[in-house]
């Protein structure tokens, strides 16, 4: 059937065209229809390579379907569907079009069967999503978007170079297991790592996501990092280095999240923390761990989307997003409060919520494979994520002191989108078998045994107790208007400063050198002139070359004269 050959990014490209040329209710209906139709279509598609052609000497397969890519394909459709509903009230065509193109690029990347196709969609992800940041139309979002674009494009360029090396080494562009042997493996690893927000390369995320529009951030949180997680799961499963990188990713962002004031930036840090769990799972590489990583990516798209949506609703209705300016909103935004708490419970992995059924797989795998210290770090990160995302976000936005802000629950479409997400979070938590059936491996894992449930509940309740205790004692760090330095300081402050000073020093030296040379030249000219002057004969006012020319002319004239005489 020829329909099978339509890759899922095509409907979204058509959707983008529709969004560009239609308006109002018609556009809304058509845009909602795109992920539904495309999703149903994907549900019917069997596994296998459905599109393949030769390009130069290489076999390209832009549309490959297997269990791993299907999993991400499904969740991207769900995410696009929810985010489109969430942004129905937006009248900005730029955002609607770029959001559709962005979702399409994400889908293109996960169904890419070769590195060249992957590269194309990798770069498209960057170029389409940056408009969701610029659409905020503030100077801050403009510069943050620029930084985002530069880093994303850099990642793409490294990927391309890596792919070329890979082709040279192996004679194929096949996008499958690569591993860390040889320069190609490392280059591609770095490219994936940048998009995956590895430590030190993570600041594009915390920098740009909070500067994007209310609805843009919801799209952004779903695709870019998850494409990178997918790419790592495809090419580097069982790479031990990933375990340590992932464990670092779970731990360090929670410290920044605790002291961050911008609540959407807190969520950006917690996004890195969640991706860390996935990276650890991929690094361990057993069937259980990979299942855990993939299912956690699936759940994370939904619950992190829900949290970004609830904070977006707060920003949309109050115009404020800093924890220090908010508080007491449960009175006027009760529905948003409840939906946010569902998201918070899911990300904290409370039993009966979606985070629990996927995160516990990664933790169990770490313990089974004997990574004790990693397991302890993950346990600490689990407690920490509850602390900053599970409690801090709802507490400072909806409870804490009364900020006196007059607000109401957001428009119906926003509430509806959040309700779908919340429903999915609970449904997956209660009935995880539906999710497990989609996973790449069958491990027969059951998250709901007494040991796991009790351990996780104890861990979470006592982290909450720590929060309560610190708050009652007045030892909890208050929300302050501030900027916290992170690795981005290096390229936002240190490097510009160093370069500015370096160039001003170079220009100074350059001017000094030129001045001295000019002076010296001037001196030597006057010296020569004065020497000439001292001769004070008929031709001495000119330079010696002038007199020479004169004498030559005279001699030639005499010579000519003599030739006539003869």
């Amino acid at each position: 059937m020829w329909m099978i050959e339509i890759p899922p990014f095509i409907p979204f490209l058509i959707g983008a065209l529709i969004a560009a040329f239609t308006r109002g209710v018609l556009r809304n209906i058509l845009m909602i229809a795109v992920p539904i139709i495309s999703g149903l279509h994907l549900w019917m598609v069997p596994e296998g390579i459905h599109l393949q052609f030769a390009f130069l000497d290489y076999q390209l397969s832009p549309y490959r379907v297997d269990k791993l890519s299907l999993m991400f394909g499904y969740v991207f459709h769900i995410a696009a569907f929810i985010a489109i509903i969430y942004s129905l009230h937006v009248k900005d065509t730029l955002q609607q079009v770029s959001a559709m193109l962005y979702a399409g690029s994400g889908l293109g990347a996960v169904f890419a069967g070769d590195l060249l196709t992957l590269f194309v969609f990798w770069e498209l992800l960057a170029f389409t999503s940056v408009f969701l940041i610029w659409a905020r139309r503030t100077p801050q979002s403009y510069v943050a978007g620029m930084r985002y674009l530069i880093i994303q494009v850099l990642s793409g360029v490294i990927l391309l170079v890596g792919a070329l090396f890979y082709a040279a080494e192996n004679g194929t562009l096949d996008f499958s297991y690569i591993g860390l042997d040889g320069i190609a493996g490392w280059l591609i690893f770095i490219a994936f790592g940048i998009k995956c927000a590895f430590p030190v390369a993570h600041n594009w995320l915390t920098d740009a996501y909070p500067e994007a529009t209310v609805t843009g951030t919801v799209f952004l949180s779903a695709f870019t990092t998850k494409v990178a997680v997918y790419a790592l799961a495809r090419s580097y499963p069982g790479t031990e280095l990933l375990i340590y990188i992932g464990a670092a990713m779970t731990c360090f962002p929670i410290f920044f999240a605790v002291i961050e004031n911008d609540l959407r930036r807190v969520l950006a840090y917690s996004l890195i923390n969640q991706v860390g769990f996935m990276v650890v799972g991929i690094g361990i590489g057993t069937a259980l761990a990979i299942n855990g990583a993939v299912s956690h990516a699936f759940n994370d798209v939904i619950f992190k989307g829900l949290l970004f949506m609830s904070m977006g609703a707060v920003l949309h209705m109050t115009g404020k997003i800093n924890g220090s300016d908010l508080g007491g909103l449960y009175k006027t935004m009760p529905k948003t409060t409840i939906l946010c708490i569902v998201g918070a419970a899911s990300i904290s992995a409370f039993p009966l919520f979606s985070g629990f059924v996927s995160k516990s797989m990664v933790m169990s795998a770490a313990l089974e494979e004997g990574y004790d210290w990693i397991w302890l770090m993950l346990l600490f990160a689990s407690a920490g994520v509850f602390h900053h995302a599970g409690i801090k976000i709802p507490y400072f936005a909806f409870f804490a002191h009364d900020s006196g802000l007059k607000a109401s629950d957001p428009p119906k479409n926003m509430l509806f989108a959040m309700t779908i997400s919340a429903g999915l979070c609970i449904a997956i938590g209660i009935y995880p078998s539906a999710l497990y059936a989609l996973l790449p491996y069958d491990t027969g894992y059951n998250p709901y045994d007494a040991t796991h449930v009790l351990a996780q509940t104890q861990l979470l309740f006592f982290s909450a107790l720590a929060f309560v205790w610190l708050n009652l004692k007045g030892m909890y760090p208050p929300e302050l208007h501030s900027t916290n330095l992170d690795c981005d300081w290096v390229y936002r402050r240190a490097m510009p400063l160093v370069f500015q000073n370096m160039f001003s020093a170079i220009w100074k030296i350059d001017r000094m050198v030129r001045d001295t040379i000019k002076e010296k030249l001037g001196h030597s000219f006057t010296y020569l002139a004065s020497k000439n002057n001292r001769l004070s004969s008929l031709l001495s006012r000119n330079h010696p070359s002038g007199s020479m020319a004169m004498w030559v002319a005279v001699m030639l004239a005499i010579y000519l004269l003599l030739s006539f005489v003869k």
Partner: protein, 111 residues
């Protein structure tokens, strides 16, 4: 919510009630540790109240370290903006500020 204007947590008694329920839950969870036989993989898990203690101590350390980090990481809110905005060329800046000023006073930031 008997009174229209009084909300659930405006009454300190209600906050106290929630906290008491919470403390009871915590205590129950520790007691359950003795009742439920758990199959442990790691030897640390056998320690008495390992998970509750780890969660509590971990979070307290987390908050203390984070507070300490503030002492050398915290800067003014416009720390980067001061420089960033100077570096934008004037034309761009005017264009952008024009767009923003036309929007000030509006409640919604994205439509």
């Amino acid at each position: 919510m008997k009174d229209e204007k009084k909300y659930l947590f405006d009454d300190p008694k209600n906050i106290q009630r929630v906290l008491y329920i919470f403390y009871t839950c915590c205590a129950l969870l520790v007691i359950l540790d003795f009742v439920i036989h758990r199959h442990v993989i790691h030897s640390w898990e056998k320690l008495w109240a390992f998970y509750p203690l780890y969660g509590f101590v971990g979070c307290v350390i987390l908050v203390f370290v984070a507070t300490w980090m503030r002492s050398f990481l915290m800067r003014d809110e416009d720390y980067y903006e001061k420089v960033d905005m100077n570096n934008l060329d004037e034309k761009n800046q005017q264009k952008l500020t024009k767009k923003i000023t036309s929007k000030t006073g509006e409640h919604h930031v994205d439509d």
